[in-house]
């Protein structure tokens, strides 16, 4: 198992190098640079060029990339061209804010998804199955930023029960004042994972129910609860893989949901960095998120191997 984990970590290195190269190249496809965004159009050309030299934007691209990579290898994510603040401060603050939404949204989405999916499978063909299928499809089909706007209109504007936007007091959400601002964005973000997981679990459970071992377990006299446990355990691995991906997407931040709820997360940070052509922030954010994706996938693989011994071979 440890050899497997080590090998996966080793594979991550060329993957992340490739991602960093691709990101660096793609960023430079957009017209303009941070100087065009920082200073008014009336700036004298020689003054703008001086600023570009200061940011090393006059260097050839491959030199810029290697310099950035060199700093990265010693843990230096650089300084934002636009705000002059350390990228690490901005990025980890944004990731923390996104995690505050991503974790509960993932838990809610996965819990609902697994429950609805399993119930749909065990009530296959009935009106319950159709109801849960409709719920799942609605979850993935409705634009979630629109759902967010509707939730805000109802719960914040009409009922004045929850805040319309923004984060609450800092710290771990333990008090109602800290939990209140999380509710609407978490519900909004949980819709897509709920829908995706629900449909996947339904399909997996139905497939497991068609296997002979289920009949054999019933014939042996196992309680339905126990049979359910075995069916769900066998259906789990592929669902886990998708959950890992969904959690990764949530951590990348939904720019649309963050905009609607004015939540200063990683999606908004990335969007702002693209808008501002702030290369250090954008490069570091994408690389860190890619790293998180890779780590989550490794963890999911390990979990799958723990659940299903066949995967350890």
């Amino acid at each position: 198992m440890w050899v497997y984990i080590f090998r996966r970590l080793l594979y991550a290195v060329p993957i992340l190098l490739g991602v960093s190269l691709l990101v660096f190249a793609l960023i430079h496809l957009a017209p303009g640079d941070v100087v065009d965004m920082l200073v008014p159009p009336e700036v004298p050309r020689e003054v703008a060029d001086l600023l570009r030299r200061r940011f090393a934007l006059d260097q050839p691209l491959h030199i810029q990339y290697l310099a950035w990579l060199g700093r990265l290898l010693v843990g230096d994510l650089g300084i934002s061209f636009f705000t002059n603040r350390p990228v690490a401060d901005e990025l980890f603050s944004a990731l923390q804010n996104t995690l505050m939404l991503a974790l509960p949204a993932a838990l809610l989405g996965f819990a609902l998804g697994v429950t609805l999916g399993a119930l749909a499978a065990f009530n296959r063909g009935t009106w319950l199955d159709k109801l849960f299928a409709a719920t799942a499809i609605t979850g993935v089909s409705l634009p979630h930023y629109w759902v967010g706007i509707v939730l805000v209109s109802v719960f914040a504007v009409i009922f004045n029960a929850l805040p319309a936007q923004g984060m609450g007091p800092p710290g771990f959400p333990a008090s109602w004042e800290q939990i209140k601002p999380l509710i609407l964005p978490v519900v909004t973000l949980s819709l897509i994972p709920m829908g995706v997981i629900s449909r996947l679990v339904r399909a997996n459970v139905l497939e497991m129910l068609s296997h002979e071992f289920v009949g054999a377990l019933h014939a042996k006299g196992l309680l339905s609860r126990r049979v359910l446990y075995h069916v769900m355990k066998n259906a789990a691995p592929s669902a886990l893989a998708v959950m890992g991906l969904q959690f990764g997407y949530l951590l990348a931040g939904s720019i649309l949901v963050e905009t609607v709820f004015n939540w200063p997360g990683s999606g908004g940070l990335m969007n702002l960095a693209i808008f501002r052509r702030d290369i250090p922030v954008l490069s570091a954010t994408i690389l860190v998120l890619a790293t998180i994706f890779v780590v989550i996938n490794i963890l999911v693989d390990v979990l799958q191997a723990l659940i299903d011994p066949r995967m350890r071979r």
């Binding site: 200073v39 159009p41 003054v47 001086l50 002059n84 944004a94 936007q165 609607v260 004015n262 200063p264």
Partner: protein, 417 residues
């Protein structure tokens, strides 16, 4: 001297490269400076510039003592100091900034009535609207236009004012095949634009423009062309210029999805596209992000960065101060030297600006500004569409605010009831 060194002396410890670029963009006319005595400095300009004192306001001064204490501009930004009526007492990047009353403000008559103001950046208009309607905030900038009737019905105040912040199409004269070379075509498009319809679409958050200055502005003057919605006149001009239903003017306009001062670019431009069809203007759009548009405006109109656009819909800041106005139209400010992206050249205009720059008589300066504006309006290098009225929505508990006819606003008289 310390602050001037911050912007102009690259080897000074306090040199601020980004601040320098911004300051020198707004004020490119400092060719030298020296200290005369402890209370006097001399600033040299490359030529006579009567409007230079107004442009000086863009050289923002900071406290040398605070810079010494914090050590760098990055640290200074976390603990800024100044001499204004408010001071920043808390700053959370991307979340909020708290401005508290400065009890020691130098003008005791303008010490703020408010204890503090908290500013929240909210890029999305519906989020701002929800925050106001739910009572989370007392005031929002730029409410969505279609929410104006319901806001008024619910007792909120919509505050606007007239000021010269024009939303135009800046026409290109640089392309060899530009349709705008003929002044009759330029005037025709200005007579064809249904500005009142656009203002109705925006629920009164803009006003019709007939020039760079508003019609009520003392600098508007008396141009021969008084642009109103007159499609018959527009068509007559088009026919004189050799255009008609079988030979429309085809033009591609670069528009943005958003951006500073751009108002609601997509629906507003779509409205104009439909409106201008009636006078044989076949308009298509090159939709870009704001950053791409800023790159385009810094380059000649024939450069690849302009993507072949025949005009750009860009709100080039406000004209409350003449130096801004001059830079958009002088023939010496074609990009990359300046922002006369249109490459419009008018010797009469240049001569008037020269007289304005050299004069020290306010009456003479004002008269020449009016004449210069008349030249601009009559020659129509832009499609003058609407003026942004700087709209704000607030609860009825906010009192004392008067919207200045300016980009800048005074919050010292505001109080909550």
């Amino acid at each position: 001297m310390w602050n001037l060194d911050r912007y102009f002396k690259s080897d000074s410890p306090q040199y601020d490269p980004t601040g320098s670029a911004i300051a020198r963009a707004r004020n490119p006319w400092v060719s030298g400076y020296r200290k005369i005595d402890d209370y006097t400095i001399e600033i040299a300009n490359p030529r006579s510039l009567s409007y230079f004192p107004g442009a000086l306001a863009y050289l923002f001064f900071s406290s040398p003592a605070q810079f010494q204490k914090t050590g760098s501009w990055a640290e200074f930004a976390k603990a800024p100091s100044g001499t204004g009526p408010f001071k920043i007492t808390e700053f959370k990047p991307r979340v909020s900034a708290t401005l508290s009353r400065n009890e020691g403000y130098w003008d005791p008559h303008r010490v703020p009535k408010l204890d503090k103001m908290v500013l929240f950046p909210m890029p999305e208009a519906t989020t701002r609207l929800a925050a106001l309607r739910s009572g989370q905030v007392d005031w929002i900038e730029v409410p969505p236009p279609d929410a104006v009737p319901s806001l008024k019905a619910a007792g909120f105040e919509i505050v606007t004012n007239s000021y010269p912040h024009v939303w135009p199409w800046v026409m290109s004269f640089g392309k060899p095949d530009t349709p705008w070379r003929d002044v009759r075509v330029r005037r025709a498009i200005n007579y064809c634009a249904n500005r009142e319809g656009l203002v109705t679409l925006l629920n009164g958050l803009a006003e019709p423009a007939a020039g760079v200055y508003n019609k009520t502005d003392p600098y508007f003057g008396h141009p021969k062309e008084q642009y109103t919605y007159d499609p018959a006149k527009a068509k007559a001009l088009m026919q004189e210029a050799g255009y008609g239903p079988d030979k429309p003017v085809k033009a591609k306009i670069m528009i943005s999805t958003s951006g500073s001062g751009q108002m609601l670019p997509l629906p507003m431009n779509e409205y104009l596209q439909q409106n201008l069809k009636e006078c044989w203007f076949d308009i298509s759009f090159e939709v870009v992000d704001w950053g791409t548009m800023l790159v385009a405006i810094r380059n000649p109109p024939t450069a690849p960065q302009t993507l072949g656009a025949d005009a750009i819909n860009i709100s080039l800041a406000h004209a409350t101060e003449f130096s801004r106005f001059a830079t958009w139209f002088l023939s010496t400010t074609f990009p990359p030297a300046g922002v006369n992206w249109a490459n419009w050249k008018n010797l009469e205009f240049d001569a008037l600006v020269d007289e304005i720059e050299k004069s020290s008589d306010p009456e003479e300066i004002a008269a020449n500004i009016r004449k210069a504006h008349e030249v601009i309006v009559d020659d129509a290098p832009w499609l003058f569409i609407v003026h942004d009225r700087n709209p704000r929505a607030m609860t009825k508990h906010v009192k004392g605010f008067v919207s200045a006819q300016s980009w800048f606003q005074d919050f010292t008289r505001v109080y909550m009831e």
